[in-house]
């Protein structure tokens, strides 16, 4: 175990549930480096997740952790944050958990601009149940529940989440761990609803079973060929590639917990 992990891993919960080569482990790896760098201490951070492979991530970390129901991570995180506005709250979720069954909570948490960092690991499928179509699955893609090619278009999460009111949006990829660190770090520093979409390859149920990649490395090579690191100010990559970087940041819109604190003052003075 690397020395950073040694400091933060909840050892009795090991091993990671993830399959060999799963991108989610790389996200955990990156997250640990970021919190170590930011010096986030014990009792300063609560972790919340939903259901699915990615939502197991915080269970392995030695912090207060709510491993909630499918889709409900954001709602529980909002309650946790509301009564602990001075603490850091991070949500680990997957594309199905966050944008599918939890979609309504996603847009409303973004609308509130509540100071929560969301790390959404997207593998474009439902991995834990064996590779079914997700709300992020590309149009025409073959999955276990779209064997004829996906009849539906995927969400444009960048437009959805920023349109709903999120004030930070970054896209990163498990193939680019340095940029991933940066995306998480800036998201955690940002006061407001920070959304980090992480392209996180699923080498087993997507890679091997659907796309016939023989090894995780082969799949990561393909992912790498599909992404491009954005230049500052860009939100779209050239040549139809998927752009990685900080796509949006807004420090103007009021953050919910700050507003709630003001209301407490107003209400106290009126009584």
């Amino acid at each position: 175990m690397n020395s950073t992990a040694e400091k933060y891993i909840r050892k009795e919960a090991l091993p990671f549930i993830f399959c060999p080569g799963c991108g989610h482990g790389i996200v955990v790896n990156s997250f640990l480096r970021v919190i170590d760098k930011l010096g986030i201490g014990k009792n300063q951070m609560g972790l919340v997740s939903g259901i699915g492979c990615s939502s197991w991530s915080p269970v392995y970390l030695q912090f207060d952790c709510l491993h909630t129901l499918h889709g409900r991570a954001l709602a529980q995180a909002e309650g946790l944050k509301a009564v602990n506005p001075d603490k850091t709250v991070v949500v680990f979720t997957g594309d199905g958990d966050c944008a599918g069954i939890g979609g309504n909570h996603l847009i409303h948490a973004a609308k509130r601009n509540v100071d929560i960092t969301v790390i959404m690991m997207s593998n474009y499928i439902y991995g834990m149940t064996g590779g079914q179509r997700a709300p992020t699955t590309p149009y025409g893609a073959i999955t276990k529940t779209s064997p004829l090619g996906n009849e539906e278009h995927p969400f444009d999460l960048f437009r959805l989440v920023t349109g709903a009111g999120a004030t930070y949006y970054a896209r990163a990829s498990a193939t680019h761990p340095i940029q991933l660190d940066k995306a998480i770090e800036e998201g955690m520093k940002h006061k407001g609803f920070s959304f980090i979409e992480v392209l996180s390859p699923c080498p087993t149920t997507a890679g091997r079973n659907i796309f016939s990649f023989k090894t995780p490395s082969e799949m990561y090579d393909w992912y790498e060929s599909q992404v491009a690191v954005l230049k500052p100010g860009q939100t779209e990559a050239p040549d139809g590639k998927i752009g990685l970087g900080i796509l949006y940041m807004n420090n103007e819109r009021a953050e919910l917990c700050s507003v709630q604190a003001e209301k407490k003052e107003v209400a106290r003075n009126e009584n």
Binding site: C65, H67, T68, Q76, E78, G79, L80, N84, K87, N104
Partner: protein, 378 residues
């Protein structure tokens, strides 16, 4: 228990829903998340400013799923937390209530019952969520439910609900109904209330390890415990154990046992004219007031009638019901449903002796109607 002095004690004129909200504030509830729904809406309205004034937070969520889950988050965050809802909203909350049961999360839900199923009768009174309160979620677990019959009880039972939730680390329901919720009458806010405030000393690493009462300690986030809360069945450290039959069976038995082994502590009933009752009326919630009026009239006319009022309906106050039914020749259970709790009474006292008196369609059973039923069978 700590004694908390109340600054707003004294006689008030208040509505049942408002009394629940006032009781929650008196009980140091500092987080409410809710979604507007008739006939419970006055509760979030009342708390929307007062919760902030008390230093807490009120959030209007996007739906009932979000509301109950936010309450779970706030509860682990250290606050006494609640939501209020009715019919369809309570139905939406069931998955999370099961989660609260297995994660042993203390919280309070005020369910101001209205007629169902589905949208049903939004503005009409009912008691048709009594069984749902107990069996609403999948899986075996026990909860606690109190049934206020008046504005005073709406206040008092809500205060008690928070104490029971913390003491037993369990979701507690206040099963109010549209009649109680919208009745406006006298409320005496007491000088003080008791607050259950047991704090765990030291660092806890076995978050689900029961004490001698079968209940784990009331621990919270950000206190150094690094709590791991998981909806999958888990061992005492919170580590998932969904495929371990022994651990899971033991956990399920304990979720049930910690409540069922303490029925005597949790139960609250009131007996009226127990000495010579040949006909016994068993009632709870708003119907019990109508029933008591009917029983008094029947006694005035010489009938040997008594009554058992259930202040708590879950867990079933079995001992009291059995004792009260023992001396009676017949038992009537008036309810605003087709006969839900009736089955519990029949299970205890036998089907021959126990009959229901059902009032559905949003009709509150008047004392006269219950009196006529008593007169018919006595």
């Amino acid at each position: 228990m700590r004694i908390k002095k109340l600054s707003d004690s004294g006689v008030k004129l208040m509505q049942g829903n408002e009394a629940c909200a006032a009781g929650a504030l008196a009980a140091d509830c500092r987080f409410m998340a809710g979604y507007p729904i008739t006939p419970a809406t006055e509760i979030p309205e009342y708390l929307s400013s007062r919760m902030f004034a008390a230093g807490g937070v009120f959030m209007q969520m996007e739906d009932e799923l979000a509301s109950i889950n936010a309450v779970i988050g706030a509860s682990w965050g250290g606050a006494r937390a609640m939501t209020a809802t009715s019919g369809p909203g309570f139905t939406l909350m069931q998955e999370a209530l099961g989660y609260a049961a297995v994660t042993e999360t203390p919280l309070v839900v005020i369910n101001v019952m209205r007629g169902g199923p589905a949208t049903g009768q939004p503005t009409c009174t009912s008691q048709d969520a009594v069984m749902q309160a107990r069996y609403g979620g999948h899986g075996d677990y026990e909860i606690i439910a109190l049934a206020p019959s008046s504005v005073q009880e709406a206040f008092d039972f809500t205060v008690r609900a928070f104490n029971l939730a913390d003491k037993y680390r369990v979701p507690v329901f206040v099963l109010s109904d549209e009649t109680v919720g919208h009745t406006r009458e006298k409320l005496l806010i007491p000088e003080s209330v008791e607050i259950f405030d047991d704090e765990y000393q030291g660092v806890c690493r076995e978050y689900f390890k029961p004490d001698e009462n079968g209940v784990p300690p009331r621990i919270r986030f950000f206190q150094g415990h690094d709590v791991l809360v998981d909806g999958q069945l888990h061992d005492q450290r919170g580590i998932r154990a969904g495929t371990d039959p022994a651990v899971c069976a033991q956990a399920i038995r304990r979720y049930c046992g910690k409540i069922l082994d303490h029925i005597d502590d949790i139960s609250s009933v009131e007996k009226f004219f127990p000495e010579d009752a040949e006909t016994l009326v068993i009632a709870y919630g708003s119907v019990s007031r109508s029933a008591l009026s009917a029983v008094r009239r029947a006694r005035d006319e010489g009938m040997k009638v008594g009554m058992l009022k259930l202040n708590t309906v879950w867990p079933v106050p079995e001992k009291e019901i059995r004792a009260a039914c023992a001396g009676a020749k017949r038992v009537i259970v008036p309810e605003m449903n087709v006969g839900e709790y009736l089955r519990e009474i029949q299970r205890i006292a036998g089907c021959d002796k126990v009959q229901g008196f059902s009032s559905i369609g949003g009709v509150f059973p008047a004392p006269k109607a219950i009196y006529e039923k008593i007169a018919e069978v006595t």
